[in-house]
């Protein structure tokens, strides 16, 4: 077998020979091919990701494990992470998306946490075929999530031509655990048995990591359909229950899920992070079909499997639990005191490598400091002045697929199971109670889309600010961020620089806001026939909600209440939906990060006081869309009457501006003085916008009027 057949370069092959001091056999080469793939090794981005801030007072587990973990309270820790399943979903939307959900759930379970919530961040093209793909992806997510019984509580969806051949499917999962049930992959000891749980191994998904996820798409990618795995949420549910029961019983020494690169990755990661070697008895791995080679067994990506390290004294207990849940559990090897991973078949050694070579020694692209420091100036700057204000544009913006109501998507997901969902997917931010706890969770997800199309640095930092602004609007204290980086081919210099600028924007915004990034995912090669997607950052922000059963409102209270715009940005409509509709793609405004932390904490402290009124965060669609969303969830007789101070074209710029860290706040008239004093004291601008009326109409400057029913008719049309 040649290096190219497993996706490795000549230089990489030479490095392998240098490490091994001999040429690898075919099996060993296959192991390297999988774990040195972009998907598993992060060889192009590891040095970029080293620039992200990871530490914080509430961080229990930073990047490097299956998921990041933060502290909610003395009794509860929260594991959360985003993962991409872009390539499989493109080839086979239903199964690709379903296995994406299953995969991220097993990452959470591998931290000993019980999953409590899912969110998904999706990007699709605008043509007919993309809409069929979207239908398949949404169906696949629901298929797995609804059946395994984890609520999908929030999400983000966007559409642009750039995603036509490379749709993005990023899934985020959240789980909770008690501190005394902490577990991960780094605590295996010599003599521990390696127990493989779950689905019998088949030929599915071989080369998924090395070929499907780590190469560009071409028109022949259809041939890779057999490399997409098939998910089984029923087995996933039983595997989850059996695994968590074994962890709760204290029977498991170390835990690792099987995802990309299957058994190879799971064993190598577990051994490397625990500092042990292992003997694997491949003839004992239960197979779904006879005749699988050692190579196929090691590289199969069969879903619904977990690997446990178990001491001899607990082996019976684990086997009994698995029997009760009807889950196959088999001892397939043993940890050793050496630093060798030996693969044995019927007693004969068929391969031997050091876990360190596979996990840590892949050649990685380095980053020059000066180049990294200059990335905040990236992006072509294209400015387009907005037109004079008009009535028609609002209806177009509301009907844009990125702005309109998402009920047709999220109503296909069970959002209420487990009975913790206080604010579900119809809200801007999800609020979950945690049973027996005063504090709850606030979860906000968003992605960059056109914001990062021309200036990835600006777009990425704005997405971080938007997610954190939504947490702050609930009075939530940010605990951590998880990032999904999606970009083109790293060997193409322009794509690589765009990726780097995206990561730099993420790093600077997170650092400015003093919020750690506890884990994430990078998906490169989202490129077809040399056309890369817009570099796209998906962000999940997790916060500690001070009073989850009494979330801050998102509806208009009553006629006479007053609306204010907090922290208005300059009226630049760059990168907005409105600008795209009227003219062309133009550059998103460069966000200012200096005051971000102060602005966020000021909002957080204001919203923590209970019942301050209603708050919405301005995002895609700008102030215009925010006002309509207020109307959508309010009593049908209520309307809004606002004045926009800016004259001429700036009025349009103000109405559709999508810059982050802006909120619309609605308070009763007797609260107005206190509100203004509060923000004045913090030296943050607050601008009166207008009043809530009882005429079921949106009025701007007494001159432009739309009835509530006309607006919502366009917004809800699917």
């Amino acid at each position: 077998m040649r290096a190219e057949e497993v996706g490795l370069s000549r230089r990489e092959y030479e490095k392998i020979v240098e490490l091994m001091k001999r040429p690898p056999n075919d099996l060993e080469l296959g192991l390297f091919g999988a774990l040195w793939s972009e998907h598993c090794s992060y060889k192009s981005t590891k040095a970029l990701l080293a620039g992200l801030p990871h530490s914080g007072a509430d961080v229990v587990q930073g990047p490097g494990e299956n998921a990041g973990v933060v502290r909610l309270s003395d009794d509860v820790e929260v594991a959360f992470k985003v993962e991409s399943h872009n390539h499989p979903s493109s080839v086979e939307p239903v199964q690709g998306a379903a296995t994406g959900v299953g995969g991220i759930l097993r990452d959470i379970i591998a931290m000993g946490a019980r999953p409590v919530a899912l969110a998904d961040m999706l990007r699709f093209g605008t043509d007919e075929a993309s809409q069929r793909l979207r239908a398949g992806v949404v169906r696949g997510i629901g298929l797995y999530a609804n059946a395994i019984g984890i609520p999908t509580v929030t999400g983000d969806i966007g559409f642009a031509d750039t995603y036509r051949s490379n749709p993005l499917v990023n899934v985020l999962a959240v789980g909770i655990r008690a501190p005394n049930h902490r577990i991960n992959a780094s605590t295996a000891c010599p003599q521990h048995y390696l127990v493989l749980l779950g689905q019998r191994t088949g030929r599915d998904g071989i080369h998924g990591a090395s070929l499907l996820a780590s190469r560009d798409f071409t028109h022949s990618s259809e041939d890779l359909r057999p490399t997409v795995q098939v998910g089984d949420p029923f087995l996933g549910k039983l595997l989850m229950e059996a695994t968590l029961e074994a962890v709760l019983g204290g029977f498991v020494a170390a835990l690792q899920d099987l995802g990309a690169a299957g058994l190879t990755s799971a064993v190598a990661e577990l051994c490397h992070s625990s500092g042990v070697g292992a003997d694997l008895w491949l003839d004992r791995v239960p197979l779904r079909q006879q005749g699988l080679s050692a190579y196929e067994i090691m590289l199969s990506e069969t879903q619904e499997r977990m690997l446990m390290a178990v001491g001899a004294e607990h082996l019976d207990a684990v086997i009994q639990i698995c029997k009760r849940w009807d889950i196959p559990a088999t001892v397939i090897g043993q940890a050793t005191a050496s630093d060798d991973l030996r693969l044995l078949q019927d007693g004969v050694e068929v391969g031997c490598v050091k876990p360190r070579w596979l996990v840590a020694d892949a050649p990685r692209r380095s980053v020059a400091r000066a180049w990294w420091d200059g990335l905040d100036q990236s992006g072509a700057h294209r400015r387009v002045d907005p037109p004079m204000f008009s009535s028609e544009l609002l209806l177009k913006v509301l009907g844009h697929p990125d702005v309109r109501d998402r009920a047709s998507v999220y109503s296909q997901y069970d959002s209420m199971i487990q009975t913790n969902t206080v604010y579900g997917p119809e809200h801007e931010v999800s609020v979950l109670r945690v049973k027996q706890q005063a504090a709850g969770l606030a979860l906000a997800v968003c992605g960059s889309g056109r914001w990062a199309a021309l200036d990835p640095y600006a777009g990425a930092s704005a997405v971080v600010l938007l997610a954190l602004a939504r947490i702050a609007a609930q009075g939530g204290e940010p605990l951590g961020l998880t990032d999904g980086v999606n970009a083109g081919n790293p060997d193409n210099q322009a794509s690589y620089e765009a990726t780097a600028a995206l990561v730099r924007g993420l790093a600077d915004a997170a650092r400015a806001c003093q919020v750690p990034i506890t884990g994430g995912n990078v998906s490169l090669h989202n490129e077809t026939d040399s056309q890369a997607i817009w570099p796209t950052l998906m962000i999940g922000a997790l916060g500690r909600h001070p009073h989850p059963l009494r979330p801050v409102g998102e509806a208009l209270p009553e006629a006479g209440a007053q609306l204010f715009l907090i922290n208005p940005a300059p009226p630049d409509w760059g990168g907005s939906v409105a600008a795209e509709l009227v003219s062309e793609l133009c550059t998103y405004p460069h966000p200012s990060l200096q005051k971000a932390h102060h602005v966020l904490t000021t909002m957080q402290h204001w919203a923590r006081r209970e019942h301050p009124g209603s708050v919405r965060t301005i995002g895609v669609g700008g102030l215009a869309a925010t006002l309509v969303r207020f109307l959508a969830v309010s009593r049908p007789e209520l309307g809004i009457d606002i004045q926009i101070a800016e004259p001429g074209a700036d009025k349009t710029g103000r109405f559709y501006n999508e810059a982050p860290l802006q909120w619309v706040v609605v308070v009763a008239s007797d609260q107005v003085l206190a509100l203004q004093e509060y923000w004045d004291r913090a030296h943050i601008a607050i601008v009166p916008l207008g009043v809530v009326t009882d005429d079921a109409t949106l009025t701007v400057d007494k001159r432009y009027r739309w009835t509530r029913s006309d607006l919502l008719g366009v917004w809800r049309r699917s």
Partner: protein
């Protein structure tokens, strides 16, 4: 008094149902699908989920589980009250303990939403729920379209076996208020001591999560069980 909640492989609303009963303050026993002894139980709930992965048809495999054999006998011999919720409803029709069947939603999609339902007929199984009463409850299912052969529909209503119907927020029966294509907007059916519904009362236990109407419904059913237990002793 003690109520059993059955976990089939793939049940996923069992924990929510157990918790709802504990909120009401009823002693419960959590049963696994392989158990056969129901003698200590005064009633049983089959919770929602995807039992056995819904392979074959929803509820079809669960209907053959050992616990269902015992349940069948207890219903026939001592009129054991049984409540099926969502997948539990599907299991009860597959087991022949309730008439009709549940088919894929007419629009072909899973649907999760808040839904208003109307109590069609008062019954001894739910003392305290009166005919015409409206309840706001979550639905979450892909196969909830209730079906009976047209000849049996009249009997279902005549015998007050159709006890719950999907309505709009004003309580009006209409095709627009039907979320899944059920015949005659039927959301719940009962026969003898066995009752079932597609909506999830166990998710509507507190105002902060959207509604307390599920608590009223479950409380009424528990009161019915308690009344029976009292009369029998």
């Amino acid at each position: 008094m003690k109520i059993g909640v059955v976990t089939f492989p793939g049940s996923n609303c069992d924990a929510d149902t157990l918790e709802a009963l504990s909120v009401i303050g009823v002693p419960v026993r959590h049963l696994f699908h392989e158990e056969r002894d129901l003698d200590d139980l005064d009633a049983v709930i089959l919770p929602g989920g995807f039992s056995y992965g819904d392979y074959l048809r929803s509820g079809a495999l669960a209907a053959k589980a050992p616990v269902m054999r015992s349940l069948w006998v207890a219903v026939q011999t001592r009129q054991l009250p049984v409540l099926g919720i969502c997948n539990g409803f599907q299991i009860l029709t597959e087991a022949g303990l309730l008439p009709g069947s549940l088919r894929a939603n007419a629009h072909g999609e899973f649907r999760c939403a808040w839904q208003t339902v109307r109590v069609t007929a008062a019954s001894a199984l739910f003392p305290g729920l009166s005919a015409g009463e409206l309840l706001r409850l979550p639905i979450a299912h892909g196969e909830g379209a209730y079906y009976v052969a047209s000849g049996e529909l009249g009997q279902l209503f005549g015998d007050h076996e159709a006890w719950l119907q999907y309505v709009d927020d004003q309580g009006m029966l209409s095709v627009w208020a039907n979320p899944n294509g059920s015949v005659a907007n039927i959301a719940g059916v009962m026969r003898g001591s066995v009752a079932a519904l597609m909506p999830h009362p166990e998710r509507a236990m507190m105002a902060e999560l959207g509604s307390t109407d599920g608590r009223r419904l479950l409380q009424a059913w528990v009161d019915g069980v308690r009344g029976r237990t009292f009369h029998a002793s």
